[in-house]
Every structure is written in structure tokens, then in C-alpha cells.
Amino acid sequence: MEHLFEYVLRIGDDSLILGQRLAEWCGHGPILEEDIAMTNISLDLIGQATTLLDYAAKIEGKGKNADQLAFLRFDKDYRNLLLVEQPNGDFGMTMMRQFFFDAFRKPFFEALQHSKDEQLSAIAEKSLKETRYHLKHSSEWVIRLGDGTEESHQRIQESLDALYRYTDELFYSDEVQKAMESAGIAPKMDDVRSEWNKTVDYVLNEATLKIPDNQWKFEGGRRGMHSEHLGYILADMQYMQRAYPGLEW
């Protein structure tokens, strides 16, 4: 049960933190359509996070709800990937981060649909439909910017160079992951990785972008060891519940 709680928390926190990051674009998008697109995607992710954290709270069995998990934990209790907490940067940086994540989430949800855990399988079935739209959107932008002007190419290549080091963690495996895989609850990460590689190779090739070699691979998010950026996100996100405990809309 403890493994399952930890596992659901990981998926839920990825959606929560990336949803929060994308919401920062609200009112700041480069064009109105993209402002709307990023906040729409944010909304899908926050919706997924609500269901996942609600489920995690039930597994934990301490009478908490999704909001309490989202707003009242400390940074070391968050289990999201380092990738999703990275700052938005420019629009290209946000699209690159989104593309790496979407290219992972699609095969991940496809496989999670067959999970032996009924609730996770239902969430995957629902979320997959949305994720397909997200991936289409982010990969089109990576190609448009990569294969665009000299400046857009150079800038998105820099975003790729800055973010690629966080992608190995997408396939993080430890005791929790292995236990969930052997219980038939979690997808096999090797399979997800090979699908991810296919999408990334195809899109980056179309985009005329190159994967940097010999980079140090960062990990830590799954163990609660985060970059300094998470603290700032939480300060913003948790302010209201910390200042006015139990406040409701």
C-alpha cells in the first residue's frame, strides 16, 4: 500500500507542478491563441492531478483530500520530476519542456490503461485522449521553431541543451517502480522509453535539432530532492491555504 501511495503521488505531482507552471503563462502568452492553448493544457493537467491526488489521499487513509495533498506538503514531500519544475523561460523553452513530457506521457498512459489497478487504468484512459492533443501541439511547435528562422533555431536548440539532462529521470526506476511493475500496476519503463525515443528522434530530426552528447543526467525529484525552483512554485501555489487554512472557493 505504501508503494502504491508513493507511485500515485509521483504521477499526480507531475501533473500538478507542470499544470501550475503552465498556468504562469496566463495573460502572458506570445499570442492570444497560445495563451489559451497553454492554459487549456494546464487545466487538463490540474484535472488529472485532482483525480490522482484524491486517489493518493484515499490510499494513504489519513482522512486527507486532494487539496490538502496539493497545498499543505513541504517541498521534500513532492515527488514530481525535475523536468516539470524547470522555469518557463521563453515560449520555446516551455514548448521543449512540454514536448519531452508529452512524448513520455502518451506511451505511459497507453500502457497504464492496462494497469491491474482499476482506478489508475480509468485515469489513464481519460487522460490519454487529452495527452494526444498536447503532444500534437508541442511537437508542432518544436518543429516550427527548430526548422524556423536562424534565431528561433538557435534559441530552441539552447532550450533543448538546457533541458535534455532532465529527461533520463522520466524513466526513473527504484524499489517502488519495480514493485509496481511486478504487481502489474505500473507500465514497464523500458517499453515507455523506447516509444519516447522514437517520438523524440522523429520530431527532433524534422526540427533539425541535435541532442547534446555526454551530458550529466540529473535525478532526484522522485526522492524528494528538488531544484531550488520548486520552492518558489510552492510559495506561490500554497500561499492562500497557508495564510487562510481551509479556505474554500
Partner: protein
């Protein structure tokens, strides 16, 4: 005595908060109605995970049934089977068109990453010469299109399967 078909009938009076020409039955989000004693259970499913209208729809179902003196009502949410635009009724599709929103078209296989945007006829002039402006629109379920003939910008209720 209240039976299930009476409840279904009452629910035809609950409009979708974001597209008020559609009832929640046109939209296909009511999955089940069951009665046990004087307790009524209505099961709904969200269109999108983050659809902000779900809570309001839940409240409106409860308020509507209360108008008919049915007070003991619970609304619960199921995720599976996941909602599909195929569940929008024929009548619902006509209502959408009249309202100026293009109803969902059958789209090619979504596992294909790149494909031409779907041809969506203009709900005003019916021309098929339209273009996609953005995959994302005013609500989670819509995309933005524009007609190249009559220049009308319009919402497209995007296909979700």
C-alpha cells in the same frame, strides 16, 4: 412514485453551463440514474479531466430535482468508460450547428502524430473551405476555426475518442 424514467425526463431540463443550448443529456455526460427507496443516485462523467463545469453541473442536477420535491440526491463522477464525442446526440449536433458551433467530425487515427487538420464545415455558410486557427479554444472541448468564404470565426467542438 418517482421512477428512473421520470428522473431522466427531469434531467432534460438541465442545461450545460458552458453551451446552454445543449442539455446534459444531449452532451451524453449522464451515465446512470438509480433509485433505492427515496434515494436518487445520478452518475455523470467529465468531458475533460479538468472541466471546470462539473461541480456546477452537479449542483444544477441537485437543484433541478429539488424543484420536483426530490431532496435525497447524490451525484457521483465516473471516469471509465471515458467520455467520447460520439455520445453527443444527433439532436445535440443540430443544436450546436444552429448555435454557431461546428459539431465534432470524424477524425483520422489520432495515433498519427502529424496529419492535416480535419475539414470542418462552417456552421454559418456550410462552406468546407475553412482553416484551423488553434487546436485549443474558449473551453477545453473546443478548437478555433475560421471560414475562408464568409470569414466567420467559429468554435469547433473537437472530436474526442
Amino acid at each position: 412514485m418517482v421512477n428512473e424514467s421520470v428522473i431522466w425526463n427531469y434531467l432534460t431540463e438541465v442545461a450545460d453551463p458552458e453551451i446552454p443550448v445543449l442539455t446534459i443529456l444531449d452532451l451524453g455526460i449522464v451515465r446512470k440514474v438509480s433509485i433505492e427507496g427515496d434515494h436518487v443516485q445520478v452518475t455523470i462523467t467529465p468531458t475533460y479531466s479538468g472541466c471546470p463545469a462539473m461541480k456546477l453541473i452537479e449542483d444544477e442536477i441537485i437543484a433541478k430535482l429539488r424543484e420536483y420535491k426530490i431532496d435525497n440526491v447524490d451525484v457521483d463522477l465516473v471516469l471509465s468508460p471515458a467520455w467520447s464525442t460520439d455520445w453527443i446526440s444527433e439532436e445535440g449536433r443540430d443544436k450546436l450547428r444552429e448555435y454557431g458551433i461546428a459539431p465534432p467530425e470524424d477524425e483520422v487515427d489520432k495515433s498519427v502524430l502529424f496529419s492535416e487538420p480535419t475539414v470542418v464545415p462552417c456552421p454559418k455558410c456550410q462552406s468546407r473551405n475553412t482553416r484551423m486557427i488553434s487546436l485549443f479554444g474558449s473551453t477545453a472541448c473546443k478548437a478555433q476555426y475560421q471560414c475562408n468564404e464568409c470569414l466567420e470565426p467559429f468554435d469547433y467542438f473537437k472530436c474526442l475518442k
